[in-house]
């Protein structure tokens, strides 16, 4: 199971990094989502992989799994979900205003040049 989880995290990160580096905005969004899935799995596994144990301390039980990573993952999921929604809106707006889904807003990607020249 350790091998499965760690390979899963590795593949997700690799795919995520590859997609984030693409020039079109849609793959970038998917890449960010994959990265956040990878990190959620990693946080989860950092509480050690324990099967069939409740995440709560009780006098009737002799074993439990670490509940804190589960709480952390929950927070991380909520935040990454919100962030994904936000970036979809921003990128959609950018596409509608510039008419291009290139991450630089146009095909040549002249951010610094025009960025410096045009006013606000």
């Amino acid at each position: 199971m350790e091998l499965l989880i760690s390979t899963g995290v590795g593949v997700l990160v690799a795919a995520g990094v590859y997609l984030v580096l693409r020039a079109r905005t849609f793959p970038v969004i998917v890449g960010l989502a994959l990265l956040s899935y990878a990190v959620n799995l990693l946080i989860f596994s950092m509480g050690r992989l324990v099967v069939d144990r409740p995440p709560i301390l009780s006098l009737h039980l002799d074993a439990y799994t670490d509940p804190l990573p589960q709480a952390l993952v929950l927070t991380a999921i909520v935040i990454s979900f919100g962030m994904t929604a936000l970036i979809v809106v921003i990128i959609l707006r950018s596409f509608l205003e510039t008419g291009s889904d290139h991450v630089d807003g146009d095909e040549e990607g002249r951010l610094t040049e025009t960025g410096e020249r045009s006013g606000r």
């Binding site: 960010l32 990693l42 927070t75 990454s80 962030m83 950018s94 807003g105 610094t112």
Partner: protein, 521 residues
């Protein structure tokens, strides 16, 4: 009484919610409540600073859960100092924005309050995961502020800013997961104790987590090679937001100071000074690149953006030495560079407003209206930034040069700081003489400007923005005048950071101390 410690976080968040719900159509009401809220936070942070100055570490347990099980707010001298700096900058920037910049889009004031909540939370919290959450809060607010009054250019720079920071947030989570995996805690004080006991077999994971955090904070602080997002973002957003963002880079600096001095500092066993080999070289490259950027800039905003990068380089040079005297010098420089960056962003906006279509480009154009006053401000700002006597930039750099003289690399550091100061002087002198002197040779009957005349002639009528710029410059003058007491404060702060025993005892010992304290009261 100690509930007051949570107010710098709670008050802006409540105020933002009230603004969105109850006064979203009334800009005047939003301005009044926004400024009132920041003023209250400023008063609280002065109170907190006075308490922290005695060396007391104030701890507030959220939900009364004792550390390390619950999340705590822990306020030492450094947190109090950053809180006060944030409040001062926020108040002045908000006054500036209320003079007209907040009309360009909706919800400026609500976003501003959320931003303030995130900043204050990041400075006050004593828990690394909570730091991540407050980073997210301030980032979400900053995305909104950055795109406030959108245009295609701002959206394009904004997309980069958001994507870079989202990747940064993901890395933050990776780092937190690794650190939690080997230490089993995320409380900063508890971490400072436990990293020393991490077995040799887990050191690789621990140090990987620690260095990943350095990358995350480096992104926030625009440390080379992670600075690419900064010039485009800061130069394309609205000026009050850029001025407020002057404090955003300092959040990265704060986090680096906190994590790599107090947690991975001298007491961290095998992981001691884990950032040591990386921070100083990166800082020196940042310094050079920033100041060369100042020299190469073709517009005023672009120049100020690179000057921010350069000053982060100077700051991290001091921090990267990792000894108490240098840290103290760095903290003094941090105060100075925040105030001066905010002042310059606002000043450049005022200059650009008065230059019609030439805007902030470094090209020949008639001298802006009120040219003498603006030139005076620009001169003071440039002197303060470049580190010429008598203003605080000089004192800050002097402290840093003095502090590094026992470091083996001191010739490099001295040479680079002094040379880059020269570059900055040349850059600012060139810009100032082009805008304010050579402009005199250009006749005002420039056909392009006559068309734009009504638009920019109307702007100078308002004295408030100029008064805010003057107040920021006065702030650097005050830093100079009170350099001795401030120097003592930052010395004490650095001592507290390098020997975090008080901090750890205050946070972890509270569980046992709390009942007796109540009896005494």
């Amino acid at each position: 009484m100690s509930n007051i410690l949570a107010l710098p976080i709670v008050l802006p968040s409540l105020m933002a919610a009230v603004m969105v719900l109850a006064m979203r159509h009334d800009l005047v009401l939003q301005r009044i409540f926004g400024i009132a809220s920041v003023t209250v936070v400023l008063a609280i942070s002065i109170y907190i600073l006075i308490r922290a100055a005695s060396g007391e570490v104030m701890v507030y347990e959220l939900g009364a859960w004792p550390a390390p099980f619950g999340i705590v707010l822990a306020i030492d001298r450094l947190a109090a100092l950053m809180l006060l700096l944030t409040s001062v900058v926020a108040l002045l920037v908000l006054v500036y924005a209320s003079a007209g910049d907040d009309t360009r889009g909706r919800h400026f004031h609500a976003l501003f309050q959320f931003q303030l909540m995130g900043l204050n939370g990041a400075f006050l919290t004593g828990d690394i995961f909570n730091l991540f959450v407050f980073f997210e809060v301030l980032l979400i607010a900053s995305y909104g502020l950055m795109l406030h009054g959108v245009g295609p250019r701002r959206l394009r720079a904004g997309t980069h800013y958001v994507v870079v920071n989202l990747v940064g947030s993901t890395l933050f989570l990776f780092a937190v997961a690794f650190i939690y995996g080997v230490t089993g805690t995320l409380n900063m004080a508890d971490l400072a104790v436990k990293v020393a006991d991490v077995p040799a077999g887990d050191q690789a994971i621990l140090q990987l987590g620690a260095l990943l955090l350095l990358v995350v904070f480096g992104v926030k602080a625009a440390l080379v090679p992670l600075h690419f997002w900064l010039p485009a973002t800061y130069s394309s957003t609205s000026p009050p937001v850029a001025a407020l963002f002057a404090i955003m880079t300092k959040v990265g600096a704060y986090a680096i100071i906190r994590v790599y001095i107090s947690i991975f500092g001298g007491g961290a066993g095998d992981a001691a000074w884990v950032a040591g080999p990386w921070l100083l070289p990166a800082a020196l490259v940042t310094l050079v690149l920033g100041m060369v950027g100042v020299l190469a800039a073709r517009s005023l905003r672009w120049m100020i953006c690179f000057s921010v990068i350069g000053s982060m380089g100077t700051l991290f040079t001091a921090i990267g030495i990792f000894d108490p005297i240098a840290t103290a010098a760095g903290l003094y420089y941090l105060l100075h560079s925040t105030l001066i960056a905010a002042a310059l962003f606002l000043l450049v906006d005022q200059i650009a407003l008065r230059r019609g279509q030439t805007d902030d480009r470094l090209e020949l154009a008639p001298v802006p209206a009120q040219g003498d006053l603006l030139a005076g401000f620009f001169f003071i700002g440039a002197i303060a930034f470049c580190g010429l006597p008598p203003l605080s930039g000089f004192i800050g750099k002097l402290f840093i040069l003095d502090a590094v003289q026992f470091n083996p690399h001191w010739p490099w550091i001295w040479a680079l700081i002094l040379l880059t100061s020269l570059l900055a002087i040349i850059g600012f002198a060139r810009a100032g003489s082009l805008v304010f002197w050579k402009g005199r040779t250009v006749a005002v009957e420039d056909p392009v400007d006559e068309e734009a005349e009504p638009a920019f002639k109307a702007a100078p009528a308002r004295p408030v923005p100029l008064a805010v710029v003057a107040l920021f410059l006065l702030g650097t003058a005050l830093l100079t005048a009170f350099a001795a007491p401030i120097g003592r404060y930052v010395d004490a702060t650095a001592a507290q950071l390098h020997d975090p025993v008080d901090y750890i005892e205050a946070v972890l010992g509270v569980a046992t101390l709390a009942p007796t304290e109540e009896v005494e009261e």
